[in-house]
């Protein structure tokens, strides 16, 4: 990566559908990915609900955008942090989340997991390493 590459972290804290934040964040991530920065996503608080499995919006007449998270690997967005404490407070485990993968260019395109469950403490360190944090 070049010297001009900055580390961007998108911090997602809202549930999907109830408000527009989740969708707006995802769109900004996809647009931002075109600029080839070092992008990471963090899901904290109700944000963890954005990437739960089995969403089916047929009954509420709203587009189900959860399949789009699976395309993030194609956009070289492969650092997806989920806060452990937020999952636990909601009775969720990593098995309740989408199976997000990416192909590692530096490892013969091996398929790897994008999601990393981290503690609040670890997330604090990750936030500390960023150049820019965008909060949704």
């Amino acid at each position: 990566m070049s010297d001009t590459t900055k580390k961007f972290l998108y911090l997602n804290r809202k549930a999907p559908y109830g408000t527009i934040y989740a969708l707006e964040s995802l769109e900004v991530v996809l647009i931002g990915a075109a600029f080839e920065q070092d992008v990471a996503l963090a899901f904290v608080d109700d944000g963890v609900y954005q990437i739960t499995k089995g969403q089916d919006t047929a009954g509420i007449g709203v587009k189900n955008f959860s399949p789009t998270y699976s395309a993030l690997g194609d956009y070289d967005v492969n650092k997806i942090y989920v806060e452990k404490e937020s999952l636990e407070a909601r009775g969720l485990t990593v098995d309740d989340l989408l199976d997000l993968k990416y192909e590692d260019e530096d490892d013969d395109w091996a398929e790897k997991d994008s999601i990393r469950v981290v503690t609040a403490q670890e997330l604090a360190d990750i936030m500390d390493e960023q150049d820019v944090i965008l909060s949704f």
Partner: protein, 101 residues
């Protein structure tokens, strides 16, 4: 008077579900809608309070909102899922609707 209470906010972001549980009488019905349905899920930091309320109140959740959020398999046993027609029935069966916004 019978009241149908509706809660549309996530219990982890807003105190409306807790206030509703505190301020509703035995025999009343609580319907969780939109992001409120997360309050109907099992194993959370608030599920014990919801289960306690179910002893003397009826707790329901709006099925299309539950399905949209992928929470169908996580709903606390005993919480009734209702569709939009069921929502209308609940509204007409009760004297008034209190929306905890």
């Amino acid at each position: 008077m019978t009241i149908l209470h509706t809660v549309n906010k996530s219990p982890f972001e807003d105190s409306s579900l807790e206030s509703c549980l505190r301020c509703s009488k035995a025999g009343s019905t609580i319907l969780l809608i939109e992001d409120g349905i997360y309050g109907a899920t099992e194993g959370t930091i608030i599920s014990d309070k919801v289960k306690a309320a179910m002893a003397d109140r009826t707790v329901c959740a709006l099925q299309p909102d539950v399905e949209a959020r992928g929470m169908k398999d996580k709903i606390i046993e005993g919480i009734k899922l209702v569709d939009y027609a069921g929502f209308v029935d609940l509204a007409t069966e009760n004297d008034t609707v209190e929306s905890w916004l």
